[in-house]
């Protein structure tokens, strides 16, 4: 069972590039496991836990590329390492063929593009503050995708940004839209008249995609990072973004997407909402409006998009439990006829942290406490996991790009008598995996077959965040899941409700009635 490894000194590659190599290596015949990583301390731990550490890899530093494979024969190892070398050489050739000389620093990039107005920064968290500070000092707005930036550093960055009237979107900002251009993980949506301020990347993606489905579009979607409404950060970017959208002539209504603000920050936000001079829809997941609070408060991302559409169209909005109750009833009836009585709990496997949070908020009143890594600790048969959380993304790309972790967990669920239902999100868009439904559908088929061999059933319910113009195509991705027997709902909120209904069929009378 040989492990073969090689180290290329001073050969930095980003995590997406490295994932591409690791995926190619794992697909080679005779390769059991493969790693392509930089030699950081955290990655050395990963190599050791995967049984891929060798004396050579242990000597690698953070600037050194480590390639390691667990292979059936030495010959396979040679082939795999040569394939990796060819991958990087091909990439270098493609880059050189453009004739462009890439700058090594932000400052040298600015000499090439002196009128730049935005820096998009996605370097490892330990280095992100320095790059963001440099960008702000040079007068650039910042989209800061990097996570693992300390709260103290975030405060420092945002203070500087506010002082200079610059946006510092992030840290840990997954998505933004500026002038209709998507940054980070972004669905392809039309430009329109709804502006968004979002402390959640997937929350913004969900709202933008639903707006697109309803025939509206986004003027700007300003990301602020998940901690912006904490008492320490004080809503610095949310307030600046609200001011910007209030003054933006293309924005007719504003949607604020967040978790509940710290009480000290809430009053500042309310003041800004009152001052906006435009209709504001507030979706602070888990919070309810205080008496007299300004704006229209809603409880789900789908409601936020629908309320915003009604606002700009001057129509009346009423929240709905399901957009097509009859279809939900038919699917669930068919499920129960086929699968009989359900055993085991619910397992939510999410790539969108906010979608996971929303699902828990919807499901707990229906099925009881839900354990996992989203929100307050709880115990019981049900679990929801946000696979984009730090503990799952150490040394690897986000699960919207690297789908392997979730696919593996879906297959594990098929072998577990404790899981009777899986609830999933699939997030499409630019920068995401090119065809996530293909491997997810395959994993679900395997899991269901495994459960059936053990005399159990495994129900799969999902929603897809995306649009037809996304590179993956919404309809095609839904069709793949549908063909694998997955019940696909039009939104994450509806998927969570359908899961609750499948686990508690006696709720059908109230949930499938005329309204809430």
């Amino acid at each position: 069972m040989p492990v073969r490894a090689t180290v290329r000194r001073s050969f930095y590659q980003d995590s997406v590039m490295l994932m591409g190599v690791a995926v190619e290596l794992r697909a080679l015949p005779g390769v059991r496991e493969a790693a392509a990583l930089m030699g950081t301390p955290a990655n050395h731990e990963l190599l050791a836990s995967a049984g891929l550490a060798t004396p050579e890899t242990k000597a690698a530093g953070p600037e050194d590329l480590v390639l390691a494979v667990d292979v059936e024969t030495d010959a396979v190892g040679d082939t795999a390492l040569e394939a990796a070398r060819a991958f990087f050489d091909e990439h270098r050739r493609a880059r050189e063929s453009t004739g462009r000389v890439l700058p090594r620093t932000l400052d040298s990039a600015l000499r090439q593009l002196p009128d730049a107005n935005l820096a998009t920064i996605s370097v490892p968290g330990a280095h992100a503050k320095l790059e963001a500070l440099t960008a702000l000092r040079r007068g650039l707005h910042v989209f800061l995708f990097s996570d693992n930036v300390s709260l103290a550093d975030e405060i420092e960055l945002k203070r500087l940004a506010v002082a200079r009237q610059l946006l510092c979107m992030g840290p840990d900002c997954g998505t933004a839209y500026i002038n209709g251009i998507g940054l980070g993980f972004a669905n392809v949506v039309p430009r329109g008249r709804v502006g968004c301020v979002a402390a959640s990347g997937t929350g913004l993606q969900a709202v933008a995609s639903i707006l697109a489905a309803l025939g509206e579009g986004v003027s700007h979607g300003i990301g602020v990072g998940g901690r912006d409404l904490s008492v320490e950060v004080g809503g610095a970017m949310t307030l600046l973004a609200l001011e910007a959208l209030a003054g933006d002539p293309s924005t007719e209504a504003i949607v604020v997407i967040s978790k509940p603000p710290a009480p000290e920050v809430l009053s500042l936000i309310e003041t800004a909402v009152r001052a906006a001079g435009k209709p504001v829809v507030v979706c602070a997941l888990g919070a309810t409006a205080q008496p007299g609070a300004p704006g229209t408060w809603v409880s789900t991302l789908e409601d936020a998009a629908e309320a915003a559409v009604a606002t700009v169209r001057g129509s009346v909005w009423t929240p709905r439990t399901f957009s097509d109750p009859a279809a939900v009833r038919a699917r669930l009836d068919a499920l129960s006829a086929r699968e009989g009585s359900r055993r085991g709990g619910l397992l939510g496997l999410f790539t969108g942290g906010t979608l996971a949070h929303e699902a828990r908020l919807i499901l707990e009143p229906l099925i009881g406490p839900i354990a996992g890594n989203v929100g307050a600790p709880a115990a019981g048969p049900h679990r929801i996991l946000d696979l984009g959380a730090d503990e799952f993304t150490r040394g690897r790309p986000h699960p919207m790009i690297d789908v392997s972790e979730r696919d593996a967990r879906v297959r594990e669920a098929g072998a577990s008598s404790e899981v009777g239902m899986i609830l999933l999100d699939l997030v499409l868009g630019r920068a995401a995996h090119p065809d996530p439904a293909r491997s997810l559908a395959s994993a679900i088929r395997d899991a269901r077959a495994c459960a059936e061999r053990d005399g159990r059933s495994l129900t799969a319910i999902a929603s897809v965040v995306g649009t037809e113009r996304d590179p993956q195509g919404l309809a095609g991705q839904v069709a793949r899941l549908d063909a694998a027997g997955v019940v696909v709902l039009p939104s994450s909120a509806q998927a969570a409700r359908a899961a609750g209904l499948a686990l508690r069929p006696e709720l059908a009378a109230t949930m499938l009635g005329a309204g809430r």
Partner: protein, 58 residues
């Protein structure tokens, strides 16, 4: 530079980090310069001091 320098103006982007993001912006016809970034050598505080050289005066 101010908020008006971004909203309503064409994006002109310096991308530091994942090359994927630069390619996605280019696909949307955005002018982007990708930085061939690598971790700075030496202690982080030295890198921070070096980065301050050349800061604007404002």
């Amino acid at each position: 530079m101010s908020l008006a320098s971004l909203l309503g103006q064409p994006l002109r982007v310096v991308n530091v980090g994942l090359e994927l993001f630069a390619r996605e912006l280019e696909a949307e016809s955005v002018v982007v310069v990708h930085v061939d970034w690598r971790p700075p050598s030496g202690a982080p505080n030295v890198a921070a001091l070096l980065a301050r050289l050349g800061d604007d005066a404002s």
